[in-house]
């Protein structure tokens, strides 16, 4: 506790409630707090030697990336160094390089054998000039095993209305946003100065993806879409607030080159188990679309805000976790006036590349209690996920006063 107080924020000492004890986990799992100092932490990468890299969406002492190393073997980072003078979300480590994104660009940093950053002030500039219009501007990144880099470019809109989120404003047809956002773009991981181009769009019809991962069992890209908001606000004639709290589904998609998941023209209704035409495009909550788009592999309840996705390849956790998916649900806001939901990490078992059972809550109570299940009052909001070399998983927290990174391990 004393160590935690020295290293962590004072408020945790005064509150007397170590963030580690707060998480509710399945039997046999234990959470350790590695730091409480990484406010606005988004995605995270863990090197084969245990060194942690985390991307921040606000600069901390002028730096937007932090490297955390445990040099004395006590299990907690004691050497913390910052670099990169830009905010952002994306953080991914592959081979000898650390990849990082701002809200417009992707950079990579060469690492030495101890995962020190060789030229922290001179990264290679891999992708530049991606769209940032505020809404849904984070650029999540992941690499496959063939030297390709995948970048999410979120749509700066809820449902591609003429006037965003305005009641009665129709959907634009075709949606002009899709030429430069609302999808996943593919680049070469080692080629500098790439930007938009004819061959780079990998998948479209995705409103906003924050959590994504390369599934090495299927050798395909999986993404978590943030579904649209405000069905009952904008169309009270079709949905009441209870229906709108859980619709549309937060969808997991398995993507291939050319995938089209249908935003903004459709959304997926997990209760009717079908694609529904968007009301801005003539839908009434029941009518299916005039053309079918790709179906999700899993459809979660609405507005949970999936910000992290990790396929578990480790050997530390029990066998059922192998190749399954962990998803960090940041926590809802668009369920109001109904109760909010999320603020947890869930697990979905996979077998032969497909979900093989129901999803279950894995790590819960990030908010800190039922009275704190609001985006503004939650103590922590889970965001990034990574797997460490020993098979533990890491969870970040981007809440304003949160800043916690947990390591979750299994002990028989």
């Amino acid at each position: 506790m004393i160590t935690r107080c020295l290293f962590g924020a004072a408020m945790f000492c005064i509150a007397g409630m170590p963030a580690a004890a707060q998480l509710k986990l399945p039997s046999g799992f234990k959470a350790t707090v590695l730091t409480t100092d990484m406010q606005h932490a988004r995605h995270i990468a863990v090197a084969p030697n245990g060194v942690i890299f985390v991307k921040l969406e606000r600069l901390k002492n002028g730096k937007g990336i932090y490297r955390l190393e445990d040099t004395n073997g006590d299990g907690k980072p004691d050497k913390v160094t910052g670099f990169g003078d830009y905010v952002g979300t994306g953080m991914y480590l592959k081979g000898d390089y650390l990849y990082a994104s701002s809200n417009t660009d992707v950079y990579r940093y060469r690492l030495d054998k101890n995962y020190n950053v060789l030229n922290p002030d001179k990264p290679e500039h891999i992708v530049r000039g991606l769209l940032d219009r505020g809404e849904h501007n984070s650029k999540s990144i992941v690499l496959d095993n063939d030297g390709n880099l995948y970048v999410n470019i979120g749509a700066y809109s809820n449902a591609c209305q003429v006037s965003d989120r305005q009641k009665g404003s129709p959907g634009r047809m075709p949606c002009p946003i899709l030429d430069s956002a609302g999808g996943i773009w593919e680049f070469k991981a080692g080629v500098p100065d790439q930007t938009y181009g004819d061959d780079h769009r990998y998948a479209t019809g995705l409103r906003n993806v924050v959590g994504l991962d390369w599934n090495t069992a299927t050798n395909t890209l999986f993404v978590m879409q943030h579904g649209r908001d405000q069905l009952s606000d904008l169309f009270p004639q079709y949905w009441d607030s209870k229906q709108s709290a859980v619709l549309p589904a937060e969808c997991m998609y398995e993507l291939h080159k050319g995938s089209n998941c249908g935003w903004p023209y459709i959304f997926y209704d997990q209760i009717q188990h079908k694609q529904i035409e968007s009301p801005e495009y003539g839908g009434d909550g029941k009518k299916g679309p005039s053309r079918q788009y790709q179906d999700p592999v899993i459809a979660f309840p609405g507005h949970l805000a999936p910000d992290g996705l990790l396929f578990y390849t480790g050997n530390q956790f029990p066998a059922k976790y192998k190749n399954g998916a962990f998803i960090a649900f940041h926590g809802s806001w668009n369920r109001a006036p109904q109760p909010q939901e999320g603020y947890y990490v869930v697990f979905v078992p996979f077998s032969n590349g497909k979900p093989s059972g129901n999803w279950e809550v894995f790590a819960n109570n990030f908010a800190g209690g039922p009275d704190k299940m609001q985006p503004g009052s939650a103590e922590h909001r889970p965001c990034g996920l990574a797997q460490g070399p020993d098979g533990s998983i890491y969870v970040t927290d981007d809440q304003r006063n949160g800043g916690t990174i947990w390591k979750i391990s299994y002990h028989k």
Binding site: E135, S157, V162, D164, P375, G376, Q399
Partner: protein
């Protein structure tokens, strides 16, 4: 008696602001707040939340900010024209607020009076006459 006292205070506050009608709204400030709460539930709550604490990084809080407590002209124009991408204090908010020109002068006056007198806020009422004047010279945002 209590209601009358509040109405009087609001009326005096209102008189100092405009040369128009002195009453803040039909039925006094208490009635305006009651009506405004209903407008808030229907138009504002989904994004700004039940306790007006907002959504970090997306939708700003409506608690004791200069936007809510300050210049009424700017505040009315936010409702009429919407808002996008504001820095409030050290926090950036990237959410999109739609314009609400469809709300009546009375509804805008009521909801702003409600917000300015709820969630720990305390400020003078906004009157329909003030909204009408501001709307008359307001330039709607380009589409």
């Amino acid at each position: 008696m209590k209601i009358n006292a509040i109405a009087l205070i609001a009326a005096v506050g209102s008189m100092a602001m405009t040369s128009g009608p002195v009453m803040p709204a039909q039925g006094g400030i208490r009635a305006s707040i009651t009506r405004g709460k209903q407008v808030y539930l229907e138009q504002c709550l989904a994004c700004h939340q039940a306790d007006a604490s907002g959504v970090p990084n997306m939708n700003p809080p409506l608690i004791k900010t200069k936007y809510v407590l300050g210049d009424k002209v700017a505040l009315v124009k936010i409702v009429l024209n919407g808002m996008h991408g504001e820095k409030i204090g050290d926090d950036d908010y990237t959410g999109v607020m739609a314009p609400h020109p469809d709300l009546t002068d009375q509804q805008i006056a009521d909801v702003l009076t409600f917000v300015r007198n709820s969630f720990g806020n305390k400020a003078s009422a906004v009157t329909p006459a003030q909204v009408k004047t501001i709307r008359a010279t307001n330039k709607p945002p380009a589409q």
